[in-house]
């Protein structure tokens, strides 16, 4: 249901504005309207102004905003604090906090920057790790001497190694040693050892041939190759040590101060939201006015609270709701416990207008029935109920899952009822095992009667939707639209009766009067709905035929069940038969949960709701704590 709303004016002495706003924020039941249009009489507009904060409030706002951004900077450097300090009241110490922050911020920033620099360096060094890990055993294999020089390089493929070997022997007169190994990332890593006097020549030749020699970061300086390896090891372990130290410092700082700063930030948010909300208030020389919307049922309570807290100097008045207000009234949907889970489905739709209907109760009533009609198997229904109840017990925290399970339980209950009507229990198994006979119709064979039944359901549903549209049009006093909807209903009824008469469900005598009636009301249809009105009627007819899916999807489900049973019979083995049938039935149940859900939803969204629900409502957004969007 859409909750009844009231249009509210709160007035009081100017100096109480902030305290009143603070009370309103604590209650969180009033949506403040930032414009006075529709609230103030035209002639009074000259006396009323938007509230403009005085200089001290303005400078407080600047101060708080600046402090907040500095706290944000600080918190960005820290690991997130684990606990929250709820008991701190920052109002009295806010200036002290600001001063402390001046010391803390640079220190933390420095630590953070150091941390980042070290992490970057570590990442850079790790690029060389794979190479040096691979090269280290090679180094041990070669005899180390002062007159030896080492060149490290990476090679693309084994063929390159051959070419390199040839080139080296040519350049250094065979006085070299080349060892290769495969590094952890799959590249071939090589180490050339040669005499110092030839090394420069070879280095140049390598770079000419585009064979990349491994270059080290500048921090390594001019160390000889062998020492570079040990330097890398040492540097890596040094950095890890330094990083640990910085982490420890940041952690301990966060433990000591993090929660305090977080609480201060929260307080600043609240304070700023209050200051921001004052901009939506209106003032005369002595008084303030706050305009807004709230649920009618809460009005009395708020009135009492205000008069008690402010000794009667602040008054709340309910204003008259005018026709043009209906457009901008915010909408709250509230439903009784049975319908509540079905809000899961309505949340997908845009919010209805205040003057329209909440779609939830309609889905609550019709969705399970359609679901039952489509699935229509007592055995499947039982299994779905049991599984849903089990999940319901397990997933206590997840509200969406809870709601989905509740919907499934209700829907499966209807599936059982229709299963009994159709005489289905795991397909025709019920019939064979304990002589279950269809009370209404047997879906497997009676395809056409089922089709007529589905379409009849469609006729009732679509007519109901159009009728509701008619009522809304009457309520809104749009006579032409109401007339259109009424003629629409007549038209559909006539066509249905005509078709029924042609197919022989009604005596053939009905045909003539029906055709005459249709001819008679057609001009009215054009008058009320313009040239496109017949198209609307055609669309409704299409919508009605679309309900054939109730029969069609139901039939697939029955046939699949029957195939499962027949296959089981064909195996000739009890255990194997049960397994085969069980698996196929399981598949059918899974399909039987999704398919009917999607299709009955579609029947609601596409065929039913577009007849009467007007979307475009505005969600009620009360002024409350921690609400990011204040205005």
């Amino acid at each position: 249901m859409i909750v009844r709303m009231s249009k509210i004016e709160i007035a009081g002495p100017r100096e109480l504005l902030e305290s009143v706003l603070s009370l309103l924020r604590d209650r969180g039941i009033l949506e403040i309207e930032p414009s006075a249009i529709g609230f103030v009489e035209k002639k009074d507009e000259v006396y009323i102004d938007t509230f403009i904060p005085d200089n001290s409030t303005f400078s407080e706002k600047m101060f708080l905003e600046e402090l907040r951004s500095r706290i944000d900077e600080l918190l960005a450097c820290l690991p997130s604090p684990r606990k929250n300090n709820r008991y701190l009241e920052p109002r009295s110490i806010i200036y002290t906090i600001s001063e402390t922050l001046q010391r803390h911020l640079p220190a933390c920033k420095k630590l953070y920057r150091d941390k980042e620099a070290l992490q970057k360096e570590l990442a850079e060094l790790s690029l060389y790790n794979f190479f040096l890990d691979a090269v280290e055993p090679l180094l041990e294999d070669m005899k180390k001497g002062p007159d030896l020089d080492f060149i490290g390089l990476t090679l693309k493929d084994p063929a390159a190694e051959m070419i390199l070997r040839k080139a080296l022997s040519h350049l250094s007169d065979d006085k070299f040693e080349l060892l290769t190994t495969i590094a952890s990332d799959g590249t071939i890593v090589g180490l050339i050892a040669l005499q110092k006097n030839t090394s420069d020549r070879i280095k140049k030749a390598l770079s000419d041939k585009n064979i990349p020699e491994l270059r080290f970061p500048p921090s390594f300086g001019d160390l000889p190759f062998v020492e570079k390896v040990s330097f890398l090891k040492k540097r890596t372990s040094d950095i890890s040590g330094e990083l640990d130290l910085i982490h420890m410092q940041l952690d301990s700082f966060s433990l000591k101060w993090g929660a305090i700063y977080k609480r201060v930030r929260e307080w600043i948010e609240e304070r700023l939201s209050l200051i921001k909300a004052t901009a939506s208030a209106f003032v005369t020389r002595m008084c303030f006015f706050i305009y807004g919307w709230m649920a009618t049922e809460d009005v009395e309570k708020l009135r009492e609270d205000l008069s008690r807290d402010f000794m009667g100097s602040v008054v709340l008045e309910e204003l008259e709701i005018r026709e043009e207000d209906l457009e901008k009234m915010p909408v709250i949907l509230r439903n009784p416990a049975y319908f509540k889970p079905f809000e899961l489905f309505t949340r997908i739709l845009p919010l209805p207008r205040y003057t329209s209907y909440d779609p939830t109760p309609f889905i609550g009533i019709f969705f399970p029935v359609f679901f039952g009609m489509i699935l229509g198997d007592a055995g499947y229904g039982f299994i779905i109920i049991i599984v849903s109840l089990l999940i319901l017990k397990r997933a206590r925290k997840n509200e969406t899952v809870q709601n989905a399970c509740k919907i499934l339980v209700v829907s499966a209950f209807y599936a059982i009822i229709f299963g009994i009507l159709y005489g289905e229990f795991f397909g025709e198994l019920g019939q064979k095992l304990f002589g279950l006979t269809p009370l209404f119709v047997e879906r497997r064979t009676a395809v056409m009667p089922m089709l007529y039944f589905s379409v009849s359901v469609g006729i009732v549903h679509v007519l109901l939707g159009t009728f509701l549209g008619f009522i809304i049009a009457l309520k809104k006093r749009t006579k032409k639209e109401a007339l259109l909807k009424f003629i629409h209903i007549l038209f559909i009824l006539c066509i249905v009766l005509l078709v029924a008469a042609v197919f022989g469900f009604f005596p053939g005598l009905m045909t003539r009067p029906m055709i005459l009636t249709i001819l008679f009301i057609t001009p009215f249809l054009f008058f009320a709905g313009g040239l496109l009105a017949p198209l609307e009627v055609l669309k409704s007819i299409g919508n009605i035929i679309s309900y054939a899916r109730i029969m069609a999807i139901g039939l697939t489900s029955v046939l699949l069940a029957s195939v499962a049973n027949r296959l089981a019979g064909m195996t000739g083995d009890i255990i194997l038969g049960v397994v085969v049938a069980g698996l196929l039935h399981l598949l059918n149940i899974i399909i039987g949960v999704f398919s009917p859900t999607i299709h009955s939803l579609r029947l609601h969204y596409v065929e039913f709701f577009n007849k009467f629900i007007e979307s475009g409502g505005r969600r009620f957004e009360p002024f409350k704590k921690n609400s990011k969007e204040v205005i």
Binding site: M448, L451, I545, R549, M551, A552, I598, R602
Partner: protein
């Protein structure tokens, strides 16, 4: 099996097969567009599922016709 029966079976197969292809094509289009929509606005997931179900009307109507042919209405 006589020719009439074969033809009826073939007609039924066509009645469901062609709309099934059409539905598949439409769903592939809607599906890929739906995936794109979801990547931008995850809150529309339920709407997208419904959208994907919409072309199924075609194959359902095809199924109805096929059933009518086979069950001799």
């Amino acid at each position: 099996m006589n020719l009439e029966k074969v033809l009826m079976a073939f007609a039924a197969a066509l009645a469901i097969g062609l709309p099934a292809l059409a539905t598949a094509w439409a769903q592939s289009k809607i599906g890929s567009a739906g995936a794109g929509t979801l990547a931008e606005k995850p809150e529309l997931s339920a709407t997208v599922i419904i959208m994907i179900a919409i072309p199924e009307t075609m194959v359902i109507l095809g199924f109805v016709v096929a059933a009518m042919i086979l069950f001799g209405v």
